[in-house]
């Protein structure tokens, strides 16, 4: 887990060239960081759009998306 490749792979994928490229970057600036959980060390990882998918703590490349706070309704039956 020492060879940190940089932003080459992930940045390219999340930066599509096109007409609304500019507006997308504008939205990015306002977007809050999304919090993930590291698959190795279980730490919180704050990621913004375009950042490499990588744990800041241990460098692990597998991150898990957290459950959102979106409400789901169930019947108690």
């Amino acid at each position: 887990m020492s060879s940190y490749a940089g932003a080459d792979t992930t940045a390219g994928a999340s930066n599509p060239s096109g007409a609304n490229n500019l507006s997308a970057t504008e939205i990015d600036a306002h977007q809050r960081a999304v919090s993930y959980t590291c698959g190795d060390c279980d730490q919180d990882v704050q990621l913004r759009r375009g950042e490499p998918i990588r744990c800041r703590n241990c460098g692990h490349r597998v991150l898990y998306k957290k459950r959102t706070n979106r409400m789901v309704q169930f019947e108690a039956r």
């Binding site: 979106r70 409400m71 169930f74 019947e75 108690a76």
Partner: protein, 389 residues
């Protein structure tokens, strides 16, 4: 009109418990069964013969067995007898108590966060089954809520009258120094984590509207604070909101106020010929403790029965408390008691045992069932009157 003798009436009122069968189960006191006898239903006769008897209840042992959030003065496991009533009525009361007396229970669960290992739908189901309690007058005055059905106009709206809001928010975390302890091999969750278990006592009632006027000292809460809803580990969290409504057991078992309501017929043990000596001891052993008492053979007994003339002072089996019998029929298995004992049950003596889940007292539940049956009868009567017009 010939009147049956008292012995004949008593014989008719008994079920027979034989070694392999139970006979005479059905009642015969209805019009047309006995020639020349009048068995038409008579309210005055019922009033004269009907009796209610209360027995020592099991509430204390029930309260001792599990922690309760209700006062120990509450009577939630009562045992009582209805004597002189037909099985159809006794059974109607039992069935109404189980499925038609309303209670408050959690119906809708709004899950904002649940990272515990219990799936959302299972979690919601578990919440629904928790018996709730609160000020009983306020609960009694609550209104019904009908869920909106697609395509049909909504009948009721959610109000402070028909909806109780509850909250549950628990997050499990490491205790201070817990991580180090875990590394050393400590595995007791009490030492490692805070909030590792979600209990029914973590439910918090959010008063709204008129509910702020409900008595302060009797909030909406679980009857049993120690009900375990889920287990968690550090980082896991549950955040949910619940709506509790009034409902009946017919709709879902969580609304049933009893667990459960049942009755049995009073057992009878008739000793036809004296059982004495070693046989008496053996006979006593055929029944649960307290059912058979051992007296000694008196001189009167010896005079009355020739075979006892030499046996004055020996132990003699006497029926002390037939209600305690489980009717195991053990006595009928032994040849030495052949033709000496007759087992039976009294057809119109119903020993009810009403174990409440804690929202209502046993006697309140029974009276409520009587009221509901009355309402049903009045509804039918109105319908019949309408039909005759």
């Amino acid at each position: 009109m010939p009147e049956p003798t008292a012995e004949e009436l008593e014989r008719r009122n008994r079920l027979q418990i034989l070694p392999e069968i139970v006979s005479d189960q059905t009642s015969t006191d209805f019009p047309g069964h006995w020639p020349g006898e009048n068995h038409a239903y008579d309210l005055e006769k019922f009033k004269k013969n009907f009796k209610v008897q209360f027995h020592t209840d099991d509430t204390a042992s029930l309260m001792k067995a599990q922690k309760h959030a209700i006062p120990s003065s509450r009577r939630i496991d009562q045992v009582f007898s209805l004597i002189g009533i037909d099985a159809s009525l006794a059974n109607a009361f039992r069935r109404i108590m189980i499925s038609e007396v309303p209670t408050l229970a959690i119906e809708d669960v709004f899950i904002y966060q649940n990272t515990s290992v219990i799936q959302d739908e299972v979690f919601a189901h578990r919440l629904g089954l928790i018996p709730l309690t609160a000020d009983r007058l306020s609960l009694h005055n609550m209104a019904w809520y009908t869920k909106p059905v697609e395509g049909e106009p909504t009948a009721t709206e959610l109000t402070d009258q028909n909806c109780v809001i509850l909250h549950l928010q628990v997050k499990c975390e490491w205790k201070e120094g817990g991580l180090e302890k875990a590394a050393k091999g400590v595995s007791d969750p009490n030492e490692l984590y805070v909030n590792h278990s979600v209990y029914a006592r973590d439910l918090v009632w959010q008063k709204h509207g008129k509910q702020t006027e409900w008595p302060e000292d009797d909030p909406v809460r679980s009857v049993y604070p120690d009900i375990l809803i889920a287990k968690m580990r550090p980082g896991q969290e549950v955040i949910m909101k619940m709506h509790a409504h009034k409902g009946i057991g017919q709709d879902h078992a969580k609304f049933s106020p009893v667990a459960t309501a049942s009755y049995r017929l009073l057992p009878t043990i008739d000793i036809l010929k004296p059982i004495v000596g070693a046989d008496a001891k053996k006979f006593q052993g055929c029944f649960p403790p307290g059912v058979i008492r051992l007296d000694s053979v008196t001189s009167e007994d010896a005079k009355k029965y020739g075979e006892l003339s030499e046996k004055e002072g020996e132990p003699k089996a006497v029926v002390a408390n037939p209600m305690g019998d489980t009717v195991s029929r053990e006595a009928l298995r032994h040849p030495e008691f052949k033709d000496k004992v007759r087992l039976g049950r009294v057809r119109d003596h119903f020993i009810f045992k009403v174990e409440s889940t804690g929202q209502w007292d046993s006697d309140e539940l029974f009276l409520h069932s009587v009221q509901l049956l009355k309402t049903k009868a009045q509804r039918i009567k109105r319908g019949l009157d309408l039909m005759m017009k």
